[in-house]
Symmetry: C2
Subunit: 149 residues, 2 copies
DNA sequence: GCAAAAGCGTGCGTCGCGCACGCTAAGCTG
DNA sequence: CAGCTTAGCGTGCGCGACGCACGCTTTTGC
């Protein structure tokens, strides 16, 4: 019956979230990349690479964080040289947040580490299974129960 | 090539985690179930239903939380009648944490809500696809890159 | 042109967390 | 059996992050 399918997915998702939320995961992925990039600042920098240069308020809306929280985390990233503030040429009040080359490099490294980690655990799978899973997961995330409001 | 598969999964996982970590998800799942059950206390109560009655220290190890943090969150749950403290008959120092019937009921409701939400989004899928996905996800979580240390 | 609105940074109160302390009870050793 | 060490618990305290509100500047609209 389909009922058990939903519960099974919910259960698996639960344990997955439980394990991935741990600070230890971030610690492992950002190991040796400097003090500034931690579980708090990473979402900001990573989000900024997705949105491109934008204001703190816009970034806050994008990553579901308060405007002032983004500002303070951006402070730390700026001090570490991973993020740059520049006045918006189109709006005198606004200051744009932009990822520096060094910041982009670090984000790429962490993402590559995560991908490699997943990659390695998938080595035991038949290649076709892995591709099917990836496709299903993407579909589940895109149009799934946690899509944007 | 398998490289893109790993990156695709990593990317999908990223957006999934980003959306599920939001406090809004917890707010929706625990809506109308009282103030005591929120994103902080839920992991404790849910974890306790998994472990069964145990000490705060053991529960802390199980849910990767500091002992004292478990104690304080348990205080709130106890005041709400969702959790019960009872002296360990086998050890005079220890006090066991145990889920009350009411607490178990609430956990079941939230889990059912989550399952239903997933269920509904899976209605558009072919049933066989959903089952394959569930099986893959379980395998991925069990033996995957985030397994226990 | 001037008032209302939007954007930004910062001070401040609040809250959760981890550490350290004191206390009680169990275990171990001679 | 007596004393010392160890384990378990709750709590006080300092620290850090967060959200709100304030003041300031610039833009927008009438």
């Amino acid at each position: 019956m389909t009922n058990t399918t939903g519960q099974e997915i919910a259960d698996a998702l639960g344990t997955l979230l439980r394990r991935t939320t741990r600070a230890r995961l971030y610690a492992h992925l950002t190991e040796g990349l400097g003090e500034a990039l931690d579980e708090l600042t990473y979402p900001v920098l990573s989000g900024l690479t997705r949105t491109g240069p934008c204001s703190a308020a816009d970034l806050g809306r994008a990553v579901e964080l308060d405007r002032t929280t983004v500002t303070r985390r951006a402070d730390r990233l700026e001090r570490a040289g991973l993020l740059r503030r520049e006045p918006d040429p189109a709006d005198g009040r606004a200051t744009l947040l932009a990822v520096t080359d060094e910041g982009r490099e670090l984000i790429q490294v962490t993402r590559q580490r995560l991908a490699a980690r997943i990659e390695r655990s998938l080595d035991a799978w038949p290649a076709s299974d892995a591709e099917v899973f990836a496709r299903c997961l993407r579909r589940f995330v895109e149009a799934g129960p946690f899509a944007e409001d």
